[in-house]
Each structure stands twice: as structure tokens, then as C-alpha cells.
Amino acid sequence: MTAPAPPRCRVNGRSVDLGDVPPGERLLDTLRWRLALKGTKEGCRTGSCGACTVLVDGKSALSCLTLTREIEGSAVTTIEGAPDDPEGARVRAAFEAVGALQCGYCTPGFVMALAGLLKERGRGGSFDELLEDLGGNLCRCTGYAAIVRAAASLRTEEAEP
């Protein structure tokens, strides 16, 4: 009988050994302090602000409420990996084109949440529903206006065949 393989996950395409990660450690802390991926932000730490949103297997996840050991075998994409993700790259470009940020603290979470929604919904669904689905990401600077413009620009692009 061979020894069991150490638990691993992938972060931005890189394989990460989870063997040393304590059972109670949150994905947010693993990313920020173990892997030095500081782009993912800590906000409320209670799932109420969305600042820590990353993608786990292409779906948005609150890294503050996710035990790292629970995502064994999964692929994580953070804002640092967004350029290599088709939807992540599109959302980043849209944010840049309309200037959809001010202090930028909520931005990584917003970008990943929107990228996740684009993956999940494909070309379907209403714009109102898309906006409703972004309701878990708080921004205090922009009044959301520029973020909605960025989302709308992606939708226009999406509507094209």
C-alpha cells in the first residue's frame, strides 16, 4: 500500500501543497499570508462584503468562509490569475476601459464575482438579474455607477454572436 498523496490544490495554475495547512485555516489567509497573493482582500470576514471573492473551480467563492482544506483538489483563481482566465481578462479590461474603481479595495472581489457570473450564465439571463447577483459585493466609493457601466459593456459584447 502506498502512502496517500499529500492534499493539493491549484492556485492560478500552480500546484500547492496543503499538507501544512491547519484544518481551521481560511482560504483567504492561505492566499494572502501563505502564498503572498495579497490581491485578494479581507473585508468583513463574515461573508457580508464580497471583498475576498475568488473563483473555486470557476465559481465565485467567499475565501473568508472557505476552509482551505475543504477545497482540496480544486482550482483557485485569484485576481493575480485573472489575466490568464478568459472571463477574468475580459472583466479586467472592461473595468479599465470605463475606470470602474476608486480606492480599488473592493475591485479584486468584484472582478472575480463578475467573471464567475459570466462563466456561469454564459450568454443567458437578464441584465437586472446579473446586477442582483452582484449584490453581495459592496463598494463604498463609486456608487456602483461605473461598475454597472463596466458590466453593461460586457453584456453588449456578449450579445454579439
Binding site: 465565485s60 467563492a61 482544506r69 475543504e70 447577483d133
Partner: protein, 280 residues
Amino acid sequence: MTEFDLIVPSTPDEAVAVLHAHPPEEVAVLAGGTDLLFDLDGGRLRARHVVSLRRLPWRTLDWNGATLTIGSTLPLRAIENDPDVRARLPGLYTAVRAVGSVALRHRATLGGNLGRASPASDLVPMLLALDAEVELVGPSGERTVPVDRFVEASRKTALRPSELIRAVRIPEARPSAYLWQRVRPFHDISHMAVAVAFSPAGARWRVAVAGFPPRPILVPAAEAALGPAHPSDPDLERAAESIVREAPIVADRRASEEYRRRLVRPLLTRAVRACGEELR
């Protein structure tokens, strides 16, 4: 946060055995964790062993005719993304979307929501109105308990030691609606909610109210007042009155009792009318 070890059983039998092997006060069951982790963080829960259900084969959603069975570890987001749920159980669709955010619903599960028995649950009132049943597995075998008997009080369920929620069964597709009132429409706690469903098989209404402690409840007097499929305005009025009269509505820091009682009539009326459009 107290230190714990994480146990990840591969089969239901193994999971039950693991639970059985530890004193109940030392074990917490993780089925998503979006609520559990608060209590572990805050020290309100001091588990030495956390048993994760993620490897169990319960991430399922099965329609069998009009009956829907949802595995306890299926993320809530998968429920709302099922086109048949949206079409055939619109109240459940709305209630699921009332929970947290999309990212939270990618991790939170129906079993977790029931097992944690939060008094503010948006799902329990809808499951009550749908006459949902909870399928349990434990050391002495399997049993099925109606949601109404499963959720006993705030943070208290009928789960026996070493027992797990395997699935939730909704006996039939029903015209249904879930109406909530909040300070902030998106991403808030509902401080008053009404779930209604019309059972085609039973030719009767089910009405649950929620949003106040200790737990969501069914109000049979309101169901009787609503009568058959298309209640008249006076029927609706009587139903609302019976809720205001009979439901143990109380104040907490989120809303006063007076305001909550005031909300009964508009929420009930709108919920029943929303179902009425489907019944037509």
C-alpha cells in the same frame, strides 16, 4: 477559534460511524460552513472535531414526477439554477435567492441551513409551506421527519446524536411564493417573511410566517381561511387576521412587533396573488 481536526469521511456509513465515535458536544458537522464558521470563530461553538460532508454522494437534485429530492450537500446555487425548480417551485427559487450572495450560495447547502436551524432562515418557511420532509440517516438506520417537526426552535433540531441529514424531499410541485421584508432589499436578513403554497393534490393552501424568533411556523388557521384555490378578498383578509391574531410574532433588534404584524397583510396578499397567477 479553538483548534479542531477536520475529518472527511467518504461514505455515509463512515460519516455516521465517525460521529458515533465522538461525544456529541465535541463534534460539529460541516456542510458548507458559511454559518458554522461564525460560531467556531466567535467561540460560541467549541468543536474538537469537524466532520466535513463534502465527499458524500449527496450533491444531488432529482425530480421523480412531481416529487423533488435535494441532496443535503448540494450548494444552494445549484437549486436556483435548476430550470424546473424555477418553473415548478417558484417559491423555493425565490427563497433560495434570498439567502446571502451568489458566492455564499455556491458553498452554502440546504442540509446546512436546516441543520443550523437559524431563526432567520429564509428556506425553512418555504419548506414548511411545501410540506417538505427531511431524510435522516443514523446509527439505527433511516427515518423521515417533516420539516415542521425537524426544526424545533432557534438553533435546535430533531437530529439525534450521530444522525445526519441526507436529503430533503418536496412531495409535489406547487404554485408557491415567498415574500420577505427587509431594510435593504439585497443581501439582508428578512425581518418578516411569508411563504405560501397551494397543494394541487390536497386542494389546500399552506402558509408559513417567519423572520422573528424562535422559528418559522405554519399557521393552519390562515390556511383554512384561504379555502380553495382562488381566495376572495374577504378570505385573504380573514387569513391575514388569523395570522396577526395567532402567530407568536415578537420584536427583536431588527423590527418591532407592531411593524411585523402590520406586514402580515401585504405580504400574505401579495404572496397568494403571485400564486394565483400560476393557478390561472
